[in-house]
Symmetry: C2
Subunit: 353 residues, 2 copies
């Protein structure tokens, strides 16, 4: 592999001049530049990224840190990764997905000088990784938020998202609206769950309705469990908002197994997911599509602005999900006469064509 020295020799210049041409850091006489460029071409020279990094203490590599991804369909995460990678690339940075499991690994990575900055996903309300990040003095931006709001972040605006979902349901006459959240290990709650829950509780309070919250795993089995819990504990709910992508399909299946039809008996909105997921389910789910493509890019931009000393980036960016109507929301059934719906025992009919 050709080095800068080889290029310099072939072009009859010093390696400093080669460096200036490659980086555009200084004026170089046109004919000198031409000679150097020719030499680079002829030798198929490519700058050694590691040496450059050591000399300049910059690598132009950004890490997107993510805890172990589960094996469930996770289109949102992929959208984050890809849009952040594109945004970074446009500004001359590489962005890589770095699966990092424990704090020690993270310190190793951050202290190693290998990345110029980091993006952190799946931020918890209390997140020791954030502390590590702060301690490491590596510039970073969060995708999500901790409980304290003075770190730079981009996040889904869950409060607005839930308000939009509740508003949509109310426009169909729904008053008794349940929330299906994601069950989390104790003390390890993602901010999105907490914030969505808080927004939901506010909305219910404003409506003068008691809240109905169910938390289950983000799996099909979790979704079926949610169907049973809703059926048993909140039989008068006419609509449900999911903040649990992975449980969406299972919830519909579970309801159907219980003889409850979507949306005739129960309307459903799945918040913070993708329209693709909505389309997979029958009936097609009305979803609040996560702004992952925008947020990934904005996160990359925010981080790079920080690295390059750009001052005018807002430290916090919030974007709500977008309503994508499907076929899972319908008029609220009239429950005024019966306190509990009569579970239909016959096989239920299809609701879409």
């Amino acid at each position: 592999m050709a080095t800068m020295r080889d290029v310099a020799e072939r072009a009859n210049v010093s390696i400093a001049t080669v460096s200036f041409v490659i980086n555009g850091t200084k004026r170089v006489a046109p004919e000198t530049r031409a000679r150097i460029e020719a030499a680079i071409e002829e030798l198929d020279y490519r700058r050694n990224v590691v040496a450059r990094a050591l000399a300049s203490s910059r690598t132009r590599i950004l890490a997107l840190l993510h805890p172990d991804l589960e094996a469930r369909p996770n289109a949102t995460v992929i959208q984050f990764v890809m849009s952040a990678a594109h945004g970074a690339r446009e500004r001359g940075y590489d962005l890589v997905l770095w699966p990092v499991n424990d704090d020690e690994q993270m310190s190793h990575l951050l202290a190693g000088g290998l990345v110029d900055g980091a993006l952190l996903m799946e931020v918890q309300i209390r997140d020791s990784r954030v502390d590590r990040l702060v301690a490491s003095r590596v510039p970073f931006a969060l995708i999500g938020r901790t409980e304290n709001d003075d770190l730079p972040f981009v996040d889904i605006d869950f409060a607005t998202t839930i308000d939009l979902a509740v508003g949509h349901l109310r426009s169909f006459g729904h008053q008794r609206i349940a929330l299906v959240a994601q069950r989390t290990k104790a003390g390890n709650e993602p901010g999105r769950i907490m914030r969505a829950k808080a927004a939901y509780l506010d909305a219910m309070a404003a409506l003068g309705r008691p809240p109905a919250v169910v938390a289950v795993e983000g799996t099909s089995a979790g979704g079926r469990e949610a169907a049973h819990k809703l059926h048993d504990d909140f039989p008068d709910a006419t609509a449900v908002i999911l903040v649990n992508e992975g449980a969406s399909a299972g919830l519909v299946k579970g309801l159907r197994a219980l003889g409850r039809t979507v949306p005739d008996d129960l309307s459903i909105i799945s918040a913070s997911t993708t329209r693709e997921l909505g389309e997979m389910i029958e009936p097609s789910l009305t979803v609040m599509a996560a702004p992952a493509p925008q947020l990934g890019r904005l996160a990359a931009d925010a981080l790079i602005d920080q690295l390059e000393g750009v001052q005018d980036t807002p430290p916090h960016i919030l974007i709500p999900c977008t309503l994508v109507p499907g076929q899972s929301v319908g008029p609220a059934p009239d429950r005024s006469s019966t306190s509990r719906p009569e579970p239909k025992r016959e096989r239920n009919a299809q609701t879409d064509s």
Copy 2:
């Protein structure tokens, strides 16, 4: 950030000795070692990965190269990434997902000296990225195969997978079996599609049945299109094998819209996907689960063996998918009397509880 020099000074040794202790590359007197370890601890020293890489021309970083991921649920890819990352970590390597769009980017990465080796996913039958990889002289392993078989690879054994699927369907009496493949840009065919198709054609020939192949996009819309094509072009098919994860849900929805019940009218197996995807669909799909967890790990091992000069790794590893029965395969309906099934016009019934 403390450097090795700081540690050496504090421990009253040379930096060489510090290096020996950190890397375990040479014997060091116990008390010297203890002094050095104490100094490391006190200074919270962490080796600079970039400097180490430059000096040793090894980074212990592996890149998993993936072309732009689409926004569809792609659990299999995530499984590959995570299992490969775990396998690498156990052997002291970091593995990152590097979204790489064009050949130029890839050359930049490979020539930069930043990664010791590469794993390439979504390998096409003819793949210019593979040529780049070979030219770069960076060690690599493929996940998938090109048309020539002498490069190291791990891959799903599609021939066996299709045979198992056909065998399963035959045990239910099916003879007319269609294949739903993935539509690809011309000249850009993933090996898996081609190999699955070939295995299917062989199986049909052995059965003495004409093949019925439909190719659609890997989306819900693609799946619905497949339902129509099957209904119009191959109305006597009693079973279908999908090699198109993204179209699975849409196919079931499309069939139902056409009044065809799964599995009463048509049995379905979705090959090379995850059991999680199968569970999301109603009825739960019988799937051939991709051996992504094993293959990711094996790919990482194969690559690292190569890097470390381990000779006894088989250059090619093939593992078939595993049958995970769901509720989408049933006895073949008797079609002997009618050449074309009477499309049911009434709403269809559920098939699972």
